[in-house]
Symmetry: C2
């Protein structure tokens, strides 16, 4: 009886979430602009109703009752109780008044950050950043210190059970490999010619190619659709509806094609979760890092792989003949895998990208676990860019002010991006045991066995298994940066003939 | 204070309605099919929450409090209280248990109707139809008999203050004119050639033409968008978001073009309601008949007008040259205005359409006010088709089973369609006083003054003025079928050279 009440209650919360999902998608894919202001009020009303449900005495009572009979529950219900409890405590332990004050500050901080970035004025943003950090520290006290340190509580929000101890180790190992490679590449005379990347590629042809790619990758169009938005995203609206968007730049086709492939990786995760988890909180990715491992697996290990393009290059040439008609495949491959240290994270290439993440991680860790002060961030940031990437921002807009995350209070999130790459290389290593002909499959355009492997090992479980459990079961070991390091070493040594 | 509470409360209800609007639109314009079943549950959850709000003790209390201070309220609030009270009573006067039973019956009845129509089996549907009618009669007792008769209560749901007395009179007058015209046309040797209508017109070209038409008519794309669906519709999601859909049939372009123009008429009504009514229940059409008068004004009085095509025919030819290239404009005009008595309402032409409505109206009136029995409907239906249209259905699928309305309990709705035509002709007559150069404007493609006239006289008021008040203020008289009769007489006498 209590179980039924509980699952019905959760289902109702999910219905609100789903309505918000449709509205979110609509607002970003073509809702007429005069309707948007009032639509935001609708989001406010539904979010408030959802928050009331998420923090109600009734839900608290159901959780307590179910926790008392924990051993009698089936596994799915037990995990569902655990997940709902985590969210419940996260929402409930902060006094409502304080949370309200924080939300107002956060909204204000994002606006100020936007201005500060535009005018390159860190001092303007600093007092808001300091307050956001103070609030986060306060929240950690409410939530409780997890896994031995303050910052681990924040990591756990996005990557359950992740710790600085683990991250220090894997990031340390990875940094060594990457920094050495980047230095060798900088010294290499074998620079790719990238001019063809920026030639005109008509939008309609990019869309046609994107649709063909999605079909080839195994995206289910009966459970999703492709639209256009300013920033590409994937949204799992419900178990049978994982939509993706992409962005068409007629003078840089990479945003559409690699964006589509990336979001497809996210979407296929959502599409292939076991149907029995539909309508629970478990029918989603188990962490941001694991989710990112799916998108990055497809974007990098498939979408930037030479065999993938051996199969698809003719198709690409057909869609934009003037651009690629007289470019040999190998020149194209070198261009889309070009390495160049740069200041902006979201524009970084595959090899230098993790360095951007490590810098942010170290800063966050030291803000919460050490004695780093917010006021010192620009100097620390710039010094780390110089040390790891060999370049130094000449202003804070291109430095510490570039990302919105901290203005939004999202500390602990950044590591997920690099974790996604590490996990992805681990899936690839395990997959190689079962599908030793991986490269042949790409060369033949037969991508379904790859998706099926990921479904069997990762997708189907949704959030039923936590990240480390999922990893252990699928690969037989814990987090290990060696596979990513080896992959990068091998790939870029060959590409740049180091 | 109470006023503020009341308007906030109404606004919150409207937020739920708006969320349901986005979901409804999405489900009909491309939501992936695997996501639809669960989406229906979301609709169920939000609708139930909305119904709770619509029937709460709190709302009842607010209404009572505001009604007590009625004379102190401004006009908008007074009308808002009146409208909310009407809905509140409509929902609240039926005991919840009975309503639930009815909703289940209604869902079942629609399914059975669908089967009965497919197998041409009225007897299968009859017991459901009888129960639906019994329930409606019961509801009328709860709601109270309005304007002197049982059926008037149902009319009032869709067309406030409408009565059988008025309808008998206007429909009677109109029927005489139309039947005489139809008979003369049947006897006329001047039959149009319609073969060009059914030649191929590529979908993309139809869409391009639809967009050009919308721009010309004055549709605001910043407050709407054009999509595709199985049945064309307009949905006013909020004050700045009135979307339309159309249907592309490559072998009958009329569904897309006239469908788009029709829905544009609905949408421009919603788009041009005074902004001060946004977020209230008054920011919508004041009745189904008045709403229909806007769509039919554009579809028939503009979209089937010879001057409109004098301006647009070249454009049409350009979009489908093989189809229209060697067809003279006059032949085209005669084809799109062809009159032919037919059995199916939704396929009827402008002239015979009102006869289809009158038949349904008379049957509904006699079911509720007289002693007509549901079991006798097929015979009565067929006899009326023979009498008014000179043709007789050879089965019930093409007769009494053709429309879903009665299975859904929508008695009182049909007259709106014909009322829309009557109102439209009245607007046109009044408009001619202010814009004597109406035909010249069409010939020049300058349609904005027409939209502006309708906005000044109709659109801006939303539901602030009730239909008869709106009509009186704009035209100086009440409902009058003379203008429609004259318009039809003149138009078809000329087209068929009677």
């Amino acid at each position: 009886m209590t179980v039924q009440q509980f699952t019905d209650y959760v289902k109702k919360m999910q219905h609100y979430q789903e309505a918000l999902g449709v509205i979110y998608w609509d607002m970003r894919t073509g809702a007429p602009k005069k309707g948007v202001a009032q639509r935001s009020e609708v989001v406010g009303t539904l979010s408030a109703s959802l928050f009331d449900m998420q923090t109600s005495e009734q839900l608290g009572g159901l959780l307590t009752a179910l926790e008392a009979q924990n051993t009698e529950l089936d596994y799915v219900t037990r995990r569902l109780v655990e997940e709902v409890r985590k969210n419940y405590d996260q929402n409930k332990k902060i006094p409502a008044e304080e949370y309200k004050e924080y939300v107002i500050l956060q909204a204000k901080a994002e606006t100020v950050w936007e201005e500060a970035k535009a005018t390159n004025d860190f001092a303007q943003f600093l007092p808001y950043l300091e307050q956001i950090i103070e609030w986060q520290k306060k929240f950690i006290q409410y939530w409780g210190v997890k896994n031995g340190s303050t910052y681990n509580t924040l990591l756990d929000l996005y990557e359950p059970d992740m710790t600085t101890e683990v991250l220090d180790q894997v990031f340390g190992e990875l940094r060594e490999t990457i920094v050495a490679l980047v230095q060798k590449i900088a010294a290499s005379p074998n620079k790719p010619d990238t001019t063809m990347l920026f030639k005109q590629f008509p939008k309609e042809a990019q869309r046609a190619l994107s649709l063909e790619m999605l079909t080839q990758l195994g995206y289910d169009f009966d459970a999703g659709r492709l639209d256009e938005s300013v920033h590409p995203f994937m949204i799992g609206i419900n178990h049978g509806d994982a939509r993706i968007t992409t962005k068409y730049d007629e003078h840089d086709f990479r945003s559409a094609i690699f964006g589509t492939i990336h979001e497809c990786g996210h979407a296929m995760y959502e599409q292939n979760i076991d149907a029995k988890l539909a309508g629970t909180l478990l029918a989603t990715g188990t962490s941001t890092g694991i989710h990112e491992s799916q998108s990055l697996f497809y974007e990098n290990l498939v979408g930037r792989n030479e065999k993938f393009w051996a199969h698809n290059y003719e198709r690409l040439q057909k869609h934009s003949p003037a651009q690629f008609g007289d470019v040999p495949l190998n020149d194209f491959l070198r261009a889309i895998n070009m390495v160049e240290p740069s200041l902006i994270r979201i524009e970084a290439d595959e090899l230098t990208y993790p360095l951007h993440i490590m810098i942010r991680y170290e800063i966050e860790r030291d803000l919460f676990n050490g004695d780093l002060q917010a006021k010192d961030l620009p100097e620390v940031w710039n010094a780390k860019y110089e040390e790891y990437l060999g370049i130094r921002p000449d202003n804070d807009a291109k430095g510490v002010l570039q990302d919105v995350h901290w203005a939004g209070g999202m500390f602990g999130y950044f590591p997920s991006y690099a974790l996604g790459m590490i996990y992805a290389a681990q899936w690839k290593h395990a997959m190689d045991q079962d599908l030793p002909n991986f490269d042949d499959l790409l060369a033949k355009g037969e991508l379904l066995p790859i998706r099926e492997w990921l479904t069997e090992k990762v997708h189907q479980y949704g959030a039923l298994k936590k990240p480390f459990e999922l990893l252990q079961d699928a690969t037989g070991e814990g987090l290990n940066a060696k596979y990513l390091a080896n992959y990068l070493q091998e790939k870029y040594t060959k590409l740049y003939q180091l």
